[in-house]
Point group: C2
Chain length 310, copies 2
């Protein structure tokens, strides 16, 4: 029941000797989601011994090169490994044209279908859903259209309190309904309230990705209470002017968002190459939001399943 | 007086956990030449602590993604570091369109001029020359137009035999001519032959880059006697059929070329991801040409200056 984020690249536009451009992979119960695809993402995946074939969904935040330049090589590699399963690509409307022009330029013939999901970045909607999670996009505030992404597990079934199945001799046909919250009506007309029969299942886990973006409080309703929030922190507060001009955030601003949205853990990344030592950014964020961590390349953040309360 | 090749990527189209796609940097007396630019080339350069600003010339062999996909990120990074010096880009005629379309798609505004040098890959000519070296392109044999590159130092001036300057009281005005090979005519009419005055300078050093290519003996006149030959060896001899179909070479074929061209050292690379252990390719090549080495990522090959003979 894994819920785990792995950082493939943590640099802003200019990569460093330690940091690749933005890319991440999220594992939700063995479903793998690639989020942004900066140059070298496929090499980082290989280093982590990740099988590329496990990717079915790629989410691109916006069409700046440091979030996309790894996509062409990745698609080409997927074709070389003989992939046949369709690949879903989510991102701003221009993404399809970019990919198709690129395949044409380099005469790349994919062995699989790419299904484009153009997103109106200024709005929010559920863009993916299966039986365990939903993915929603929501607006960020940057120089070009830019989507944040929210990955959230669905509510889990409630759990029977030990002994109740036998005590009330609950028929199999009614059990799923009760796990979804129904009360139980006995043959004699008595109603046993759900709370007497079940306890909540483990709460759904969630991850929100917010990069690139200026300090933008309008995102808060979308990310409220998530277990993990990735928020860009390109600059330190000393460079707040530069952050404003370029529509990026400081570590302090990322922490203010995390605090106001009452998230559980903040991960900061997309660091400007000017910071050789990231401690200054971490300290700045932790002063406001202590549960802050650095999205260094290769870092992994797990959200364990909480035990249901009995 | 460095002459040194550094391998940035040694994989064929599909990168592995150990090997990036093709890219190399050649240092000829502190002039730096980037040869091919597969995905991640700029990150490999950074890891080697190479300052990107030192690159003025980039040579692209052909327009397959694994030789070009790192170029867009590199250009973008050069702009972000505020480069103003023009950058020279050499490659097949389609390269200019590819780069310009890309800059348009991603709204990248370069802070410097890119000077394109479109090359007729089926021919050979000198494409760069300064006071220490020339660069020539020559045809390879692949599925699309594909250039090999030959980097060769110019002949050095001859060296005066110790004592002759004083013995014949050679005027300063004549010295450069004698170092270029002139004889000396004394005031009494006697002629002192050049061999009695000078010894040869160190021989010029040379490097030839041949990737991607099928086994192609027509390249031999261009690469004869070079100090270093890089020749692709995508496959082992067991997969010679696959090499023929895809117009690539086997390690054995690379060694046959090296032997017939009487080069001093052969470097093989562009390895298919199917070979986990490259020893099989190295052994196969060394059986024919013992001075063979693997172009592993980060490997560096130096050609020291030979002492002039006295």
């Amino acid at each position: 029941m894994t819920f785990s984020l792995t950082v493939l690249g943590s640099s802003s536009a200019l990569p460093t000797s330690e940091r690749f451009p933005t890319a991440q992979v999220l594992n939700v119960q063995e479903r793998f989601f690639l989020i942004d695809c900066g140059e070298g993402a496929q090499m980082q995946l290989r280093r982590l011994r990740f099988r590329l074939g496990r990717l079915d969904h790629v989410f691109i935040s916006h069409l700046h090169g440091d979030h996309v330049f790894g996509l062409f090589g990745l698609l080409s590699s997927l074709a070389l490994t003989g992939r046949e399963t369709p690949l879903h690509l989510y991102g701003p409307p221009g993404l399809e044209k970019v990919v198709i022009q690129h395949m044409d330029m380099f005469d790349i013939h994919l062995s699989f279908e790419v299904i484009f999901h153009p997103l109106a970045c200024e709005k929010s909607s559920v863009i993916f859903e299966d039986k365990v999670l939903t993915v929603r996009h929501f607006p960020l505030h940057h120089r070009i259209p830019d989507c944040g992404y929210l990955f959230r597990e669905k509510e889990r079934k409630r759990r029977f309190i030990p002994g109740v199945l036998e005590k009330y001799d609950i028929p199999i046909a009614l059990r799923t309904g009760i796990q979804m919250g129904n009360d139980l009506t006995l043959e004699d007309g008595r109603v046993i309230p759900n709370e007497a029969l079940t306890t909540p299942g483990p709460p759904p886990r969630s991850y929100a990705f917010c990069s690139d973006t200026a300090y933008y409080r309008a995102m808060i309703p979308f990310i409220r209470g998530v277990d993990l929030l990735y928020h860009e922190a390109t600059f330190s507060n000393e460079d707040v002017q530069r952050a404003q001009e370029t529509l990026h955030s400081t570590a302090r601003q990322a922490a203010l968002i995390a605090r106001e949205a009452e998230v559980k853990k903040l991960i900061i990344g997309h660091f400007s190459a000017r910071y050789k030592d990231l401690q200054v950014l971490l300290d700045e964020a932790r002063e406001i939001f202590p549960e802050t961590w650095l999205a260094e390349d290769g870092a992994r953040f797990d959200v364990p399943l909480e035990k249901g309360t009995l």
